[in-house]
């Protein structure tokens, strides 16, 4: 059940109270924007840019905000799968126009998808899953007539999977005429789109000042209806305590990413309410079995003992209360086929027994890499304390994000606490990471943990080729159970997004993944 209904209910129950400070028709969101690298949908893949793309651009098909897990026809009014199982024919929505006024044409679809693959920037790998690359992509996407586009793909995957891939933001449709008009030295408009938008989304960029703010104005001619707001301002407020003050005083209507204790303090305020919604982000502990320096890492006994040494309830229930659910399978709750069983809990005695049986003597030391931002340093210290009770000494090494990722790519880490966000709205995005090691250098999470799983990898590859959706779900349940019971990862928590909102803000909807942020129905 999506968050839209939940948000609506809480909004209606409260009477219209609280001072509607700020500018009428303008929504102000206080969040951190420092992670934005680019606002070009073919390049930007950071959390903040993703949260803006659904407002600025549209894809042929998109996840339905009111019925998550199923797709909604957006720029494509409808589509038919080819009988060879390797092609799709899309009909471009009639009368759809871009914010700048140009009509949406099949040429724009061909241009946008080609451009995304050829630029080969951060999110391009999603389209590479279909077997497209800079050389061959032109041949696979062609205009049939002035209303239709045929899309074909060499990879052994079914149309259902392809539709999910094309719902990702990298497949956003941009206005070819405008973009080519602003092209600079053959960059296919990438420089211009860094801070401008030429899409058909409900909003368009009025102004983007890096590290300061992103101002989006309404696009009255948006296909599927104009937004109710005039302007949305995403303000860069890096410090959580400052964000909290802004929403408390009313200078901000929504405050993202506040700490659990800060939200607990705001829960009682009449003029505010807490909007909660599960997110697809799962947190897991990874042991690098390929690290020969510390042989204990490849011992399955350690993997199993670790499952009993995490204080799941302590962390989710108290340390980070409200912002995490206990979840022990790689598909997040809310995804089709997600495994919701949680067989493990903190049991030091059992862990000691498992360690003894596996011949691991107490006093072993493992280096734990972790991000130097909250909540990771708190989680790390909780692990350190519970693992110590079973004689395993965790040495915490906080580091900058890309430094920690750097170690996992060169497999020099021992243990690391990470989080995984699915790249597109299909189970394979996560299964391909945890349960697939092609042993050909692709840096899946299984590869980073040095986990050799030929049989499980085969099953994961088969699952993505499976045409029948029901069969796919059964496959993923089998894979998740295997990973849950015996693997060098301990999947422990699933995040739950908590936003603090002013009483008068209603109609906000948010989905599982980062791009599912919908401002079009918001009023204040």
């Amino acid at each position: 059940m999506g968050c839209r209904l939940a948000g609506l209910l809480t909004g209606l129950v409260w009477s219209v109270a609280g001072v509607a400070a700020g500018v009428p028709g303008t929504l102000v969101v206080a969040q951190a924007l420092d992670d934005i690298v680019s606002l070009d949908p073919a390049e930007g893949f950071e959390l903040s840019s993703e949260s803006a793309f659904t407002s600025l651009y549209q894809r042929l098909v998109q996840s339905d905000p009111d019925r998550p897990g199923s797709l909604r026809a957006t720029l494509a009014s409808d589509w038919q799968a080819g009988n060879d199982g390797h092609s799709l024919l899309f009909t471009v929505r009639d009368g759809a126009t871009f914010a700048g006024g140009h009509p949406v044409r099949p040429e724009d679809v061909v241009f946008s998808l080609n451009r995304a693959v050829r630029l080969n920037r951060s999110p391009a790998f999603i389209l590479n899953e279909l077997g497209w690359n800079a050389e061959n992509v032109a041949g696979f996407i062609n205009r049939v007539d002035d209303r239709h586009v045929r899309v074909r793909w060499p990879a052994q995957v079914g149309p259902a999977f392809v539709l999910n891939v094309l719902s990702a933001t990298v497949a956003s449709i941009v206005d070819q005429l405008e973009v080519e008009h602003h092209q600079a030295s053959g960059d296919a408009g990438n420089g211009w789109l860094h801070s401008h938008s030429e899409g058909s989304g409900p909003f368009r960029i009025r102004r983007y000042i890096p590290h300061e703010a992103l101002v989006m104005d309404a696009n009255p001619a948006a296909p599927l209806g104009a937004p109710l707001l005039k302007t949305v301002i995403l303000r860069n407020v890096a410090d959580a305590a400052s964000r909290r003050l802004l929403v408390e005083v009313g200078d901000a209507d929504i405050a993202r990413d506040l700490g659990p204790d800060q939200i607990a303090a705001l829960r009682g305020k009449p003029e505010l309410y807490v909007f909660e919604c599960p997110s697809a982000t799962v947190h897991y502990l990874l042991f690098n079995a390929s690290n020969v320096a510390n042989p204990v890492l490849k011992n399955p006994g350690l993997w199993e003992a670790a499952r009993w040494l995490i204080d799941y309830d302590g962390i989710a229930g108290q340390l980070l209360k409200g912002q995490y659910l206990v979840h022990q399978a790689f598909l997040a709750h809310g995804f089709a086929g997600a495994l919701d069983t949680t067989p493990f809990h903190l049991d030091v005695a059992k862990a000691k027994a498992v360690l003894a049986k596996a011949g691991i003597a107490p006093g072993v030391t493992i280096k734990l890499d972790v991000f130097n931002q909250p909540p990771f340093n708190e989680i790390a210290q909780s692990l350190q304390s519970t693992f110590a009770q079973a004689g395993i000494r965790l040495q915490i090494l906080p580091g900058v994000a890309s430094e920690v990722y750097g170690k996992t790519r060169t497999r020099t880490e021992e243990a690391v606490w990470l989080y995984w966000v699915p790249d597109y709205n299909d189970a394979h995005s996560t299964a391909g990471a945890f349960a697939l090691n092609r042993e050909d250098g692709t840096q899946s999470i299984a590869w980073r943990a040095g986990w050799h799983i030929p049989a499980l990898s085969a099953l994961t590859v088969a699952a993505v080729e499976e045409q029948d959706p029901a069969a796919r779900i059964r496959d993923y349940e089998v894979i998740q159970t295997a990973v849950q019971r015996d693997s060098p990862f301990v999947i422990a928590l699933q995040e739950r997004a908590e936003l603090v909102m002013r009483r008068n803000v209603r109609g906000y909807r948010q989905g599982l993944t980062a791009e599912m942020v919908y401002y079009d129905r918001v009023t204040r």
Partner: protein
């Protein structure tokens, strides 16, 4: 007379320019080497951890990381000389444009904070030196010590909580309320001047309301040092013979302190003021974080965490230039104030 004078003048200017160039290139070389040491992988920060190895390799090529760092440095300097500071990898904008928006923000905050801490700091120093060991001296000492012993981010958050959230006396984080922030034209980048020139009725008052807290917090942090150094300088001077003669001339304590002692201590005080101004110009990253102030401090810090080499080098170059100019101005001021140094 002029002819004889000119060569010496040219020599001095040439010397100054030479030291400027040498200092800046040494600064750039040091920053470049140290940034290369940073553990952060710029390409990885750019494309993210999920990207394909192909995208990652392409990003490395785009950033020119493949080439030996001497070549990278030489390429950077040759461009910098022509004013092209390169493209910031984390914002995709030319570094020069970024600096044009972030530096005025820090300049405005630093200058106002410097004004307050200089006036209050020197005044505290004078009061403290008037009767060393007196009540005023003790109170000022504790106050100024507290000023520079309280962590500034703590002071910032507390002041926001009290004056903004509870008492609503001042503006909150950010430089302007959203009503004005994106409507007025940001010509000079100095929010006070832009707000004034914008003609919007409440804009100027709003800009002041937002400036008060960060300026006072920064000033409180800086004035402790200024007050203590001023007091020490004044006390050293007050033991000199000319003070006795001044009193022998019938000058009262105020005239002795302001007319005789202060001018002699002015040289030292100016040096202290310029040091603390330089520190402020470098961008008070902690204050800018707490007050969501888009200044040079935050820009450099985010660039550091992203190993965004062009942005780091551009910022360090700008800070280096400010520092050298500030030192030269201080030298000239001290010479003007203290004829002995001519």
């Amino acid at each position: 007379m002029v002819a004889g004078h000119a060569p010496r003048l040219l020599l001095r200017i040439g010397g100054a320019l030479f030291t400027l160039v040498v200092t800046l290139s040494a600064l750039l070389l040091a920053t470049f080497a140290l940034s290369a040491l940073s553990p952060v992988d710029p390409a990885l920060r750019l494309v993210g951890d999920h990207a394909s190895t192909a995208s990652y390799e392409q990003a490395r090529r785009d950033l020119g990381l493949g080439r030996p760092w001497i070549v990278q440095f030489e390429r950077y300097v040759s461009h910098a000389v022509r004013g092209d500071l390169g493209i910031s990898s984390s914002t995709g904008q030319p570094v020069r444009e970024d600096l044009k928006t972030v530096f005025p923000a820090t300049l405005e905050l630093a200058t106002l904070a410097m004004g307050v801490s200089a006036v209050v700091g020197v005044a505290f120093g004078l009061l403290g030196a008037r009767r060393p060991g007196g009540l005023a001296d003790a109170v000022i000492r504790i106050l100024s010590l507290a000023g520079n012993s309280i962590p500034i981010f703590w002071l910032g958050l507390l002041s926001l909580y009290l004056f903004y959230a509870h008492l609503h006396w001042t503006g909150g984080p950010g430089r302007l309320d959203d009503a004005y922030e994106f409507t007025i034209d940001r010509g000079t980048g100095l929010v006070l001047i832009d707000a004034w020139r914008s003609g919007e009725p409440g804009a100027f008052a709003n800009a002041i309301a937002h400036l008060i807290l960060p300026v006072l917090v920064l000033a409180a942090n800086g004035l402790g040092n200024i007050a203590r150094m001023t007091r020490t300088a004044l006390l050293n001077e007050s033991a000199r013979e000319y003070v006795t003669l001044a009193r022998a001339k019938g000058a009262g304590e105020a005239r002795v302190l302001l007319g005789h002692i202060l001018p002699n201590a002015a040289g030292t005080i100016l040096t202290v003021l310029s040091l603390s101004y330089a520190r402020l110009l470098e961008g008070a990253v902690l204050t800018e974080t707490v007050f969501a102030w888009p200044g040079l401090g935050r820009y450099l810090t985010t660039a550091l965490f992203a190993a965004d080499i062009p942005a780091i080098l551009g910022s360090t170059l700008l800070i280096g230039v400010c520092f050298v100019i500030l030192n030269r101005c201080t030298d000239l001021l001290v010479r003007a104030v203290d004829p002995r140094t001519l």
